[in-house]
């Protein structure tokens, strides 16, 4: 019979946004389960370091994997950072500026085509009107996005998705020499779970040298049909951290 360890300290690092359903599940599963479960929603890498320094036995990580471009070779772990008010208004104003400039440019292009381009080769080829129509469709889409930016609610947070930098794992490695290093298990749910350790050699070394057990999220059946490996979160998977 397995004896539940009441002194096990579990850190749940949910790098997802507050409004995401994973956050709701995390809250449901770990709410009122005692102080041995510490939950960080919209977590930061610093929270991970904090957990390790405070003697966490198990760390549960829910993160995105980021490939900057499809063919990119390195897939890193990512997290959402809520933008501070100055960055938020700067971004919104940049977006506003971008969309209005683009709209003006497209209007000009459509006007030019409709007036001077009538006798062009494009029209002769019967593609002229199709091209204008496609521009108009693009313009409509752009205008919708412009209005969304204009009407963006004041109280709605804006995020940027950022890469977890390797430095945090260097710091963990340094901390591992301290007396209260107890980390035994990492449970991680992210896309491309086998690749996300590649840019973090310090984390790999830490796992190997301390024999930290790694358990991935649920690999859905869909993986079999997909070109991409994913390890997802389910409530059952989260609950496994409660069953000791």
């Amino acid at each position: 019979m397995k004896v539940r360890n009441f002194f096990l300290f579990v850190c749940v690092l949910n790098f997802e946004r507050q409004a995401h359903f994973y956050t709701q599940w995390v809250n449901e599963v770990f709410a009122n389960k005692g102080s041995q479960y510490r939950v960080y929603n919209e977590a930061t890498p610093a929270n991970w370091l904090e957990c390790i320094q405070q003697g966490a036995d198990e760390v549960v990580v829910i993160a995105h994997s980021l490939a900057i471009k499809d063919g990119g070779k390195v897939i890193s772990l990512g997290y959402y950072r809520q933008l501070e008010p100055p960055q938020r208004s700067e971004l919104l104003s940049k977006a506003h500026q971008y969309f209005s400039t683009e709209l003006e440019r497209m209007d000009q292009e459509i006007r030019d085509l409709e007036t001077s381009g009538r006798n062009s080769f494009e029209r002769h080829q019967n593609r002229y009107q199709d091209y204008i129509n496609s521009l108009k469709i693009q313009r409509r889409d752009l205008e919708a996005r412009f209005h969304r930016v204009e009407a963006f609610p004041e109280d709605k947070p804006l995020y940027e998705i950022s890469t977890i930098l390797p430095k945090i794992f260097q710091r963990m490695k340094e901390s591992s020499k301290a007396g209260n290093f107890k980390w035994k298990k990492l449970r991680i749910a992210a896309c491309n779970p086998d690749k996300v350790f590649e840019p973090y050699p310090e984390l790999r070394e830490l796992i190997q040298s301390h024999g930290i057990e790694v358990e991935y999220g649920v690999r859905p059946l869909l993986n079999y049909f997909s070109s991409e490996e994913t390890a997802i979160v389910t409530k059952g998977w989260l609950e496994k951290s409660l069953r000791r």
């Binding site: 890498p45 990119g72 896309c191 491309n192």
Partner: protein, 165 residues
């Protein structure tokens, strides 16, 4: 029998030609269904009819899955990819602090980042998927010879391209 073998061969050839596993698996179901349909087409016994209609169902499902895979791109992590920003935001003290950098190192890295961004402005450093660590490292160092090793490593992780350790 000849009809069956030729259908099978065509199915195998087309399956192996599929660009991704998702499409290949979906198409394999379609092909298996097609082979079964051909196999049972002349069998008018109750068992043969069952085989024929089951194969036809598998073939239809496989066909729909193939179309759907091509349509959706076959990826299940598309959302995460979509949300990956096209532009890498500049370094900020908050971001570096969250990632374990002390104030002095963070300030030095931010200064390098600003110089680097200025140096590539209008002359953007393009990192192709085929680029290896040497070309990325060389690219950054050519455009920005003063880059520290820590900054090059940090940029590489943010760009998603490996740099030799």
């Amino acid at each position: 029998m000849k009809k069956f073998i030729s259908t099978l061969l065509i199915a195998i050839t087309l399956t192996t030609a599929m660009p991704r596993r998702s499409e290949a698996m979906a198409f394999l179901s379609f092909a298996a269904g097609a082979v079964g349909t051909v196999w049972f087409s002349d069998d008018h016994t109750p068992g043969g009819r069952l085989g024929f209609w089951s194969s036809a169902a598998v073939m239809t499902a496989g066909f729909l899955a193939t179309v759907s895979c091509f349509w959706t791109g076959g990826g299940t992590c598309a959302l995460a990819k979509e949300e990956t920003p096209r532009n890498i935001p500049g370094l900020t003290p908050e971001y570096l602090a969250e990632n374990g950098y002390d104030g002095a190192t963070a300030a030095a890295l931010i200064a390098q980042d600003q110089t680097f961004i200025e140096s590539i402005r209008g002359n953007l450093l393009v990192v192709e998927p085929s680029d290896n660590s040497q070309t990325l490292g060389a690219g950054i160092r050519t455009k920005f010879p003063a880059a520290s090793e820590e900054y090059v490593q940090l940029l590489a992780v943010r760009l998603g391209v490996p740099v030799a350790q």
